[in-house]
């Protein structure tokens, strides 16, 4: 049982606010050398006094927005819902507005990306990272958890708690029905299947940018992202399996979220570093090859808010994201909305089933 729940809530919100602040502080740096605030610029632009001033101004604004939202969230403790909602909205929108303002300023310095495109004249041999065995691993974890629950069905109480308040008392229950017991695993299946579909899409429907002379392509990096996503899938499969065992284990106490927070942090940083190293190797390889393109050649005008790519004349369903590491969907592609609908369905349908078994009394 937790003796000072308000302190814990405050500490949790402080950590979230700090993470958000750090995220927005770093975001402008997480892009290719030819991009600044998701705008194509000359590579040397980032070091100019104007660019540095722009970055400083953006960061100050982002910090102010984060501080305001933290103040609102703190004032909302323990249960002042309007302030809580306002604080969360501010946290979500404030720094984004700062980003958009900075982006508008950078657009005055924008240049056209390289217009020459190259394609290797050979069918793409797209292999899923680790092959089918590794790809099916997370599903095997879920299947094992399902079998374990099935074998211990009689030990599961008719009604069991699945959520606890900060005072240690249960405030959410489920019942021993297939939806109540297997719901978390079904939801995990949906989420993991959605991620697997995205991995497949990135490997088959994203542009392969050739790095002249080396025989390498940016596809090599996409493969690395595929491995990263499989790691995420394994992690989710384990977390959801633990959650599914709650009817058997009872209240896990603070240890459960604590262990997983530590695990997330322990896994995130090495994985992010590994991804970043791959990206750095690729960028070095490209930078030393004259005439090669740093990005996949998307034009600024097709990027809405620097985040959403929408170009109906581009056959690529996935394109390189303008900041961060990874890919984003081309919302202008004829299949984009079908993919989004399918992924939403395979996540929301199991979620709906799992929720039907929940009650708060």
């Amino acid at each position: 049982m937790v003796e000072h729940p308000q302190f814990l809530v405050g500490a949790f919100m402080a950590v979230v606010a700090a993470l958000v602040a750090w995220l927005f502080w770093m975001v402008p740096l997480w892009s290719r050398p030819g991009l600044y605030f998701a705008v194509t610029v000359p590579p040397e632009f980032k070091k100019t006094p104007e660019a540095l001033d722009l970055l400083r101004s953006y960061r100050i604004q982002a910090l102010i927005h984060t501080a305001i939202s933290f103040a609102l969230l703190s004032a909302a403790i323990p249960r002042h819902w309007p302030l809580l909602v306002l604080g969360e909205i501010w946290l979500a929108i404030g720094p984004v507005i700062a980003f958009m303002r900075a982006r508008e300023r950078v657009m005055r310095h924008g240049v056209a990306p390289v217009s020459v495109r190259e394609a290797v004249l050979a069918p793409r041999a797209a292999h899923l990272p680790g092959g089918w065995i590794l790809q099916l691993g997370p599903f095997a974890v879920l299947l094992a958890a399902t079998i374990y629950l099935h074998l211990h069905w009689e030990q599961i109480p008719d009604r069991f708690p699945v959520h606890w308040g900060l005072d240690g008392q249960p405030n959410g229950w489920s019942v021993r029905t297939p939806a109540g017991v297997y719901g978390p695993l079904l939801l995990a299946f949906g989420v993991i299947a959605g991620i697997s579909l995205m991995t497949y899409g990135i490997l088959h429907h994203a542009r392969v940018v050739r790095i002249p002379g080396s025989g390498a392509t940016k596809y090599d990096f996409a493969h690395r992202i595929g491995f990263f996503l499989v790691a995420v899938e394994f992690f989710l499969a384990i977390i959801f399996s633990f959650a599914a065992f709650l009817p058997l284990t009872g209240n896990p106490g603070i240890a459960f979220p604590l262990i997983f927070t530590v695990l997330i942090l322990a896994a995130t940083f090495p994985l992010a570093a590994w991804l970043n190293r791959g990206r750095a190797q690729q960028l070095t390889s490209i930078a030393t090859t004259p005439g090669s393109s740093l990005g996949d050649g998307t034009l600024d005008k097709y990027w809405k808010m620097g985040v959403f790519y929408c170009n109906p004349d581009d056959a690529a369903l996935f394109v390189e994201a303008r900041f961060g590491v990874g890919y984003t969907i081309n919302f202008g592609h004829s299949s984009a909305w079908i993919v989004m609908a399918v992924v939403s369905l395979i996540v929301l349908f199991p979620l709906g089933i799992a929720l039907t078994a929940l009650s708060h009394r």
Partner: protein
Amino acid sequence: MAPNTPVLRVDLASDRPVYEQIVSGLRAVLVAGEFEPGDQLPTVRQLATDLGVHHNTVAEAYRVLADEGWLDLRRGRGAVVLDRREAKPSPEAKQGFARRLEELVAKAITDGVPRSKIADHMAALAKKLGKA
């Protein structure tokens, strides 16, 4: 991917339509004998994705090359290189080619390309064609 795999290059900022660039680029590779009969080319979807153009642009280019006898586009097989027997050229085709080549060389000289460079390029091209 092998380093010597043929590469197609297009310039999206060029005045020349992209489908024409794809046709002439692919034709040059095919004429140079860089593919064996039966070799598979990228699918329309893959090539369009890699070039960042619409599917129809690549599909149109492939159709032109199929009409010329270079490619087999049967459904489900993708684009397969055919064993194209060289057509017997008409006198008009020969004359037309000679005229276009002269015009191209004249334009290159006008643009400042050194005559020796043009001669080198043509010799290299002739050598490449001889191998095909």
